[in-house]
Amino acid sequence: MIKIEVRLFATFRENRERKYFFELPKETNILDILNKLNIDREDASLILLNGVDGDVDRKLKDGDVLSLFPPVGGG
């Protein structure tokens, strides 16, 4: 099993927590997390795995921090 932290931002926080701490099987990937949280792949505009862009098929490892954002911008 691995322990990971998931952080949600902007509209992803609606009807969800800001942070989740999950204990999951070793083969879990990012898409599994999106499914678990009922977030559409298309809505997750920015997926940061430990601060760096992560592909949805990336497998997670112990201690990973996953940050998920809907489409957002500014300046």
Partner: protein, 617 residues
């Protein structure tokens, strides 16, 4: 002639006279308007090495071909002058409602010359132009000035400086509609140096439109694109620009304590999400803007004021080690009222805090002010902001920005600035293209004229690897040129989240006439960028000024997800000069000037380096 009003207003403040001149349509096509036209006039009319505070410096307030037109986000205008902060060209942009009202007076732009011998304000109601006494307004805040004008006159839009501009603070802004700012480059002080307190406008002229049906159709289609765009239609309206706080922090490029760190666990307390949840009263929109990223917030005492942008939250927040939105909202209000650039004001306090942390500034230097320079001290941040604006006590040193402050303590490297202007809210050590954009910016440290955060962090129009150097020079060039187009036609750069070059061509051609293609419009942006560069070269700037603070190229990021990275400017800069068609010293070649129709300025380029060609690295 369509799109433009066809008239330039020239105001001589020394003699208190004015005249009007025709605005040449060909000139409009070549330099687009606003920023481009302003830079061209500065280049042609203001001699090299002019003291920014002398009567010989001019300040140009200009609308673009689309400003005020029935086109989305057409509320923008530009201020162009020689910057007293950087010594470069100053190109400051603002939204709100003032720009379209000014254009409705029947003028495209105003050129201010000379210096009034006592405070004045300019009154324009269509053809009626008066240089009026402003002794009763001098010393007033921007809000007080606006209220006083509104009591005297009905239905006028007010642009004004606050006490900071009057006191010649090098980081002072020009404000309009109370809380919109042409913020950067110390443009407020240039108005102050001319004893020009305000410009008040009211107009009844309609903008001539080339093809009204087409304009309606194009406008409807672009509004729809913006409304359906996830960022422009949802992200920005919901949270304002402050939504970036968490994104930039989670990416590990959120500068903390004057760029000593790049990540903080406390970011969410000052995020766009927190601002929306705890302080937001309503959104606000500039003229004809479907995005409405503006915020209106309530302070603890019930006062309702304009809310902070992302950059402001960062400058007074993380950069000063402060995580308290109430204090940041108040600091933002002080800056708006006193007319200070929020980025430079917050970043200068942050630099002072690091100078204190490292023992350069001593307790006795600030004892008389009764304020600390401890990280995160809310009372100090608010107190220094006000003292900076009024040049009171130690605030006098802060009023001229971080570079002059740090240099006076023998530690210029602690000013996180480029060409003496404070850097905004992104640590470039792990965003290579954005760092290049900082270093080469014609107006000094600036994020908005070449916003590489868009592709490198946000993924618009496509996602680029932020750590990679590959293709970044060419990409940065396109962003800088496209922004010059948007600034010059009179639209908001936030439209780029939903629109691209062909959209701007559609809008320009519908209003102005079938003038531009994709290629020619972007080339006009490139022409404007090169002309600004020539202005700076004429002022004595060289490749040695295209640099980043030592910390950002030598010291790796010490914490967070981007730990270990430095900016690789020395590798990117030669490639950037090359894609620009500049020589290895960063000077445009004769071929480049000829290609862009700027051959009349060839006397400002070094003939020797010309012969080496652009690709001789």
């Amino acid at each position: 002639m369509y799109g433009y009003m066809g008239k330039i207003l020239r105001v001589n403040l020394t003699n208190r006279t004015y005249s009007t001149e025709d605005f040449d349509f060909e000139f409009g096509k070549k330099y687009l308007g606003a920023r481009g036209v302003g830079v061209k006039i500065m280049m042609d009319e203001v001699p090299a090495k002019t003291d920014p505070f002398s009567p010989e410096n001019k300040i140009i307030v200009a609308s673009g071909g689309l400003t005020g037109a029935p086109i989305p986000t057409s509320g923008r205008y530009m201020v162009i002058t020689k910057s007293p902060l950087t010594g470069t060209i100053a190109i400051s942009n603002s939204g709100g409602h003032w720009g379209p009202s000014f254009k409705a007076t029947g003028h495209d732009l105003i050129i201010f010359e000379g210096k009034a011998d006592s405070p004045v304000y300019l009154y324009i109601e269509d053809d009626k132009v008066e240089i009026r006494d402003a002794n009763h307004l001098w010393g007033k805040t921007v809000l007080e000035t606006t209220e006083a004008i509104n009591e005297e006159l009905e239905g006028f839009k007010v642009m004004a400086i606050g006490p900071a501009g009057e006191k010649l603070s090098l980081i002072s802004a020009i404000m309009n509609d109370v809380d919109r700012a042409a913020g950067r480059g110390g443009v407020g002080a240039v108005m102050g140096s001319k004893n020009l307190k305000a410009i008040v406008v009211k107009g009844s002229n309609k903008i001539p439109i080339f093809d009204s049906e087409k304009t309606k159709e194009v406008s409807k289609s672009k509004v729809s694109t913006l409304r359906n765009d996830p960022v422009a239609g949802s992200g920005l309206p919901s949270y304002g620009s402050a939504v970036l706080v968490n994104i930039i922090n989670e990416s590990g490029v959120f500068p903390v304590k004057n760029f000593q760190e790049a990540y903080t666990d406390e970011a969410d307390t000052i995020s766009g999400e927190s601002l929306t949840e705890h302080h937001l009263v309503k959104k606000s929109a500039c003229y004809r803007c479907p995005i409405a990223c503006g915020r209106v917030v309530k302070l603890d005492d019930g006062t309702v004021v304009g809310g902070p942008e992302y950059e402001t939250i960062w400058a007074f927040g993380a950069d000063c080690g402060l995580y308290d939105l109430e204090t940041i909202n108040k600091a933002n209000m002080i800056c708006n009222d006193y007319g200070l650039d929020t980025i430079s004001a917050g970043a200068t306090i942050a630099a002072a805090m690091e100078l204190y942390q490292r023992g350069f500034i001593k307790d006795e230097d600030i004892a008389a002010d009764g304020l600390s320079l401890n990280w995160g001290d809310a009372e100090a941040v608010l107190g220094w902001t006000k003292k900076m604006a009024t040049r009171e006590g130690f605030g006098d040193k802060l009023a001229d920005g971080s570079f002059r402050l740090a240099t006076s303590y023998g530690a210029p490297e602690l000013s996180m600035s480029v060409k003496k202007q404070e850097l905004p809210a992104y640590d470039p050590r792990a965003i290579q293209g954005h760092g290049l954009s900082y270093a080469v910016n014609n107006r000094g440290g600036c994020h908005i004229k070449g916003y590489m955060i868009s592709p490198e962090i946000l993924g618009y129009p496509e996602k680029l690897d932020r750590f990679s150097l590959e293709g970044k020079a060419a990409y940065t060039k396109i962003f800088l040129d496209l922004t010059a187009v948007i600034d010059s036609i009179g639209l908001c750069v936030f439209t780029t989240f939903g629109l691209g070059l062909p959209d701007y061509v559609d809008m320009y051609n519908a209003v102005v006439g079938d003038v531009h293609t994709n290629e020619s419009l972007l080339e006009a942006g490139e022409r404007i960028w090169n002309l600004e560069k020539l202005f700076n070269i004429r002022e004595g700037f060289s490749s040695s000024d295209d640099k980043l603070p030592k910390r950002l190229v030598e010291d790796p990021i010490p914490n967070g997800p981007s730990k270990g990275h430095v900016h690789k400017l020395s590798e990117l800069l030669p490639e950037y000069y090359s894609v620009r068609g500049w020589d290895k010293e960063g000077v445009p070649t004769l071929e480049t000037l000829n290609r862009l129709g700027l051959e009349e300025y060839s006397k400002y380029i070094d003939k020797e380096s010309d012969s080496e060609g652009a690709l001789s690295f």
